[in-house]
Symmetry: C2
Subunit: 322 residues, 2 copies
């Protein structure tokens, strides 16, 4: 059987959950599991991964390799997760560890890189030579398709698009990022929740304030719910977050002149409430012709990382390159 | 004779001067001219180019093609200079115009792209797979070597690295750039002069203030002269400009994970007075391992654009790709 037709395990090990699937050569999901990853130690995350891969193989014994997407800077040559902003991982030789423990070839990549690969192969960036993908959740991950290939930087640590400074003296960034005013800290789901809480304080008559009074935690999800329900205060929070996102998109447009921007991650549930202010800022700030690049939602939803991780493993097994 | 050995005309058409040379296959300069370009209209710039190419051919009749680097967004397929921040050029079909008028094949590219190509082939980025080059003069131009090739974006308009926002509500950018707080407007030679003039006002005892009192125009060159002479006020201006540059370098480091940053253009005359604060900011702000990328001065000086333009023309003639 050609590698192309073989089954692969794709894993998206995110800051809040781990999605694992066994996919066939046409990217159909044959088996899938979902486990919480919040609050787990490095060792516990490895145990979780090994256990779930074993379960997957019990269900689908033909799986030939494991592709693993992690929200971390990755050293591809050594298969090491060097550091992560939103997971307790540091210099973890995850490729060799997981390979030893599962008995399968394991390939590791940044989660946003594999999500970009998935959208490039099967989703919103299909047919693009150059595409920029942002995954907006707890943090902001970046994936680049340049000249039809995933661009990963010199050792695989590149494309950290969430960590570009848009406000030179802005707030300290999240987790292990030492910078200030990164788009991640100003326009992620975390920022959405923070701005939502401040707006609820400022606007006691808003739906957001009432949700808070009812004991609801005001996080990105709550702000999205209120905004989709028509709350002007929550919509204004999306205006702010979306326009900050658009400032970063304008910079990326000037840098890459991409054919398309693809926006994924949990925050995209708000749809055009997020994307319209981002598009407006892009149109107003980027140089022509770059200011005309379309900004579209990801098509593969939360499965993008898992699908891309499996595709990356397939490509590595076949060509020695993801 | 193989294309590799043939002579090429390389032209660097900058905002203040046009450098034109005839180069042999080993990039030796056989003939060279330098003309002022400041204040010229679009038509006058084309005339100047045609006249100088004719002179070059009178001296070196073997020249086989013209490579042209322009500080403008370029449409490579159509050979059009779409728009320029620091030259009065808009939708100029310069490739076909110049080709008709000179009778030679003409190839057009962004000036910073060809400077990056030159540094990659012959200068400070030799041997690098991934390198980021900034040319800091009147504006800030960007050139990208990714995977060993010049990255130009989807139509050739990309790599406008000077137009990334580092201060979301910062000052309006220069020329035709509609954005705010771009690194170009905060850390170019123009910014250096502006900050120098403000510092001269604030510090009446400084060398800068005395230069001003003596009737000297305080521009980037004057600030550089004062700083190299030890004036603390001028050195502090370089601290400010260099640290802003470093903020952009940290973003580029996180995006590209380059093996090297190469800094060229007139402002690099200040050497480490500019580069040290930039390096410090890069080390402090970028994620590991990207924060360790070296920041080095360009090696080819003001000839980089001309050399790269000739190399690009040679590559186009031979391979159909620059």
């Amino acid at each position: 059987m050609s590698v192309n037709a073989r089954e692969m395990v794709g894993v998206d090990l995110g800051g809040t959950k781990m999605l694992l699937g066994v996919l066939d050569g046409e990217s159909n999901v044959l088996w899938e599991s979902r486990e919480a990853s919040t609050g787990q130690s490095e060792d516990e995350l490895v145990e979780l991964l090994v256990r779930e891969v074993a379960e997957a193989r019990a269900a689908q014994p033909e799986a030939a390799a494991v592709g693993l997407g992690i929200p971390a800077t990755i050293n591809r040559d050594r298969g090491v997760a060097v550091s992560a902003v939103n997971l307790p991982i540091e210099n973890l030789p995850i490729r060799d560890l997981a390979s030893e423990r599962t008995g399968l070839p394991v390939f590791v990549d940044n989660d946003a890189n594999v999500a970009a690969l998935a959208e490039h192969l099967y989703g919103a960036a299909r047919g693009s030579e150059n595409a920029v993908m942002l995954t907006i959740g707890t943090g902001i991950g970046g994936g680049l398709i340049l000249g039809g290939e995933v661009y990963r930087g010199s050792t695989g640590a590149g494309a950290e698009l969430g960590h570009v400074t848009i406000e030179i003296d802005g707030p300290r960034c999240q987790g292990n990022c030492p910078s200030r005013g990164c788009v991640e800290t100003l326009a992620s789901g975390t920022a959405l929740g923070r701005e939502g809480r401040e707006a609820a304080e400022r606007e006691p008559g808003s739906v957001l304030a009432r949700m808070k009074a009812d004991g609801r935690e005001i996080d990105g999800k709550a702000v999205t719910e209120a905004a989709l329900g028509g709350d002007a205060t929550a919509i204004a929070v999306f205006e702010l977050i979306g326009s900050r996102l658009g400032v970063a998109l304008a910079s990326f447009a000037n840098i890459f002149e991409p054919e398309v921007f693809v926006i994924g991650g949990g925050v995209i549930a708000a749809g055009d409430l997020l994307l319209e202010p981002a598009r407006r800022e892009l149109r107003e700030r980027a140089l022509p012709p770059m200011n005309r690049a379309p900004v579209v939602p990801a098509e593969l939803g939360e499965d993008a990382g898992m699908i891309g991780a499996a595709a990356m493993a397939r490509s590595e097994l076949e060509w020695g390159t993801g």
